[in-house]
């Protein structure tokens, strides 16, 4: 397929996935802010979200203080913030528009309908209905688009590039959400009940709460949460599952130039496949996740070079 078409498909998937995960991240942060805590601690959490996306200075240009209202407005509806949900869904739609002929009609209509619906609501209207309802809507629209994609597209390279973009983005985003929340949770001195709610909210935000119950049938502990989200191959949003998918997609689209990228993906996958959670935690979770995100970044670079800006 055309390199440019592949590029649009890949980014269409990345932006769609990014919007969904941003909704998940903001949702968990919002849920956690409802757990009793000091205003200062709360605002610290919101600052962490800005830091996670390196947006502190962009935020400071328009907004006077870091608090729940400002950060939500900035991250949900601000068209000038390239990382907001609004901007991600706009970018997804623009990429889809550029290759709408490659998409099935249902897929294009789903993406376009999401955009039209988003554009029709103001941030005030979103707040009035409840911000959680909006996050659910973003997740639902993402699920609809994903469902229509798998349900209608031919299993050819177009689909493989969409899958690849989605998996790369998801792996990165899961690592980011886990890194940030783990950091905050480890810092909190609370014991017992409130901790349970916080770990629960983190798991829920990644659709992993019931899975946790099913897999461990035991109390929620940080080590198990990390194991589930990093190493479980059968959890769709885990790092392992994403790496696994990336390796398979790369095999399907391989060309003469892609051997090194495939090797790197293989290494990434092997490091997850054969890891033990005790070793990961002993070496420092933050260090581990940072290394993972660096490797994902490298892979994205390689994919661009090998497939998307071909000579």
């Amino acid at each position: 397929m055309l390199s440019r078409t592949a590029d649009h498909l890949y980014w269409l998937a990345r932006y769609t996935e990014r919007a969904e995960n941003l909704a998940r991240l903001l949702d968990v942060s919002y849920q956690m802010s409802l757990v009793p805590q000091s205003i200062a601690a709360q605002n610290e959490n919101w600052r962490a979200i800005l830091a996670l996306n390196s947006l502190e200075s962009a935020f400071a240009e328009t907004y006077s203080g870091v608090n729940v209202d400002n950060v939500l407005r900035f991250m949900v509806a601000d068209a000038t913030n390239p990382s907001s949900i609004y901007s991600c869904l706009r970018a997804a739609r623009e990429n889809a528009h550029a290759v709408r002929g490659t998409l099935t009609a249902e897929m294009w209509e789903s993406i376009n309908a999401t955009w039209i619906e988003l554009r029709q609501q103001t941030f005030e209207q979103i707040l009035a209905r409840g911000i959680s309802e909006f996050f659910d809507w973003v997740k639902l629209r993402s699920a609809v688009t994903r469902g229509v994609t798998f349900g209608t597209m031919l299993k050819d390279d177009a689909l493989h590039f969409i899958r690849l973009g989605g998996l790369l983005e998801r792996g990165d985003n899961t690592a980011r959400i886990l890194d940030m929340q783990y950091h905050i949770l480890r810092q909190s001195d609370d014991e017992g009940a409130s901790d349970f709610y916080r770990w629960g909210a983190l798991l829920r935000s990644l659709s992993a709460f019931q899975v946790y119950r099913k897999v461990y049938r035991d109390a929620i502990t940080p080590a198990r949460v990390a194991e589930l989200l990093i190493l479980r191959m059968d959890l769709p949003r885990s790092l392992h599952a994403c790496a696994d998918g990336i390796v398979r997609m790369l095999q399907l689209i391989a060309n003469d130039a892609s051997a090194e990228t495939q090797r790197q993906a293989g290494v990434l996958h092997a490091r997850l496949h054969f890891a033990r959670i005790d070793d990961v935690l002993a070496g420092g979770l933050h260090e581990y996740l940072t290394d993972f995100m660096d490797r994902i970044y490298e892979l994205g670079d390689g994919i661009s070079r090998d497939f998307l800006i071909a000579a």
């Binding site: 397929m1 390199s3 002929g101 009609a105 209509e109 590039f161 071909a310």
Partner: protein, 472 residues
Amino acid sequence: MSAAFYNEMYDSDAGLRPHYRAFAEWLDGMPAERLERKRAEADTAFHRVGITFAVYGEEAGTERLIPFDIIPRIIPAAEWAQLEAGLRQRVQALNAFLHDIYHEQAILKAGCVPAEQVLNNAQFRREMIGVDVPSGIYAHIAGVDIVRAGAGESYVLEDNLRVPSGVSYMIEDRKMMMRLFPELFSRHLIAPVQHYPDLLLDNLRTVAPKGVANPTVVLLTPGAYNSAYFEHTFLAQQMGIELVEGRDLFVRDETVFMRTTQGPQRVDVIYRRLDDDFLDPLVFNKDSMLGVPGLLSAYRAGHVTLANAIGTGVADDKSVYPYVPEMIRFYLGEEPKLNNVPTWMLRKPEDLRYVLAHLPELVVKEVHGAGGYGMLVGPAASRAEIEEFRARIIAAPEKYIAQPTLALSNCPTFVESGIAPRHLDLRPFVLSGKRGVGMVPGGLTRVALRAGSLVVNSSQGGGTKDTWVLEN
């Protein structure tokens, strides 16, 4: 309803024309609120599917719906048969003309068309002299605009031989009518049009360069901000071919390749929706970012086919239009089956004299103008406008032609105030390839939605109607 205009649905005594009878009965039995609901449904569906066109001059990326009218334009079988025969003849002659002027120039030597009208025309591409194109076809896709005047007779208004657009609306309008009112399609025998993309692809494959058994066909678009981008994606998808931009293609060893995820892939036929001027920055417009450097060299070497060919604009130019009937006689030895609008060429002193004496009745057009710009519509113009135009004509008469103001036919159309007559035209899409000339019955009907307006262009607030050619 003015008696001066031919009405497609009613005859002069306000009686129904026979081919509208079944439709009118159906419309009478239709509750107003159901119609209103259906119109709203059509709007939503067009929006959701994204059948829009970009508007130039407004905020970048502005997309607008082309209004769709639910009252179809119906053409009886016998009438279409005549139109079709005329279109075949006309497009055949135009292709013969293009081949001739880029080779022997027999028609110029015979004096049937003045040589300077052709050779000094900006649309005449010297680069094409002596270049052989597959099957001698230049205008693979022609969009011929036909109007009907006062007494019901048809005229060709212009032959669009460069990159005619609108065919996607023809297909989408049909899809929409079938979705909204399926019952109408069991009451009428309506000739299908949705297979147009198959015909087009088949046609493009027949004109592949010699020796290419399984040609790769692509559609070249100027990009997502072009006003017809929806149509480009639509046709590429319907034909199952790649939609490429200039930057996706490159030329090596006089051969065109596209950049794919599996490396370079050879391209054999380019259905280009990009004007001549932008095709190859090495030869034409040097600043074009939309084209492909070296494309002309690959084309001249016969390693790639462009559809339409380069240099077709000289045959649909307003200064050459008056000679199309002569072309038909010269190349085919037949009398023209479709009327030309009588045209005065103001470079001729006697024509100039007549036109200057009759400006308030006439339409005066710039020879190289398009899209309704640089035009005087005498009956609608003020004295001052006429006098200003008169001065421009006298300064450079060779830049203008004049035609009688045609009383375009009208057809009942939904507007704010209810159903009212609005003027319309018809653009059939005529395909030419190795196996001859073909088309789907009908074409795109454009309708001027403003009362009294004769301008049907979508950029000027025109809408579209489904076009039914009835089968006997």
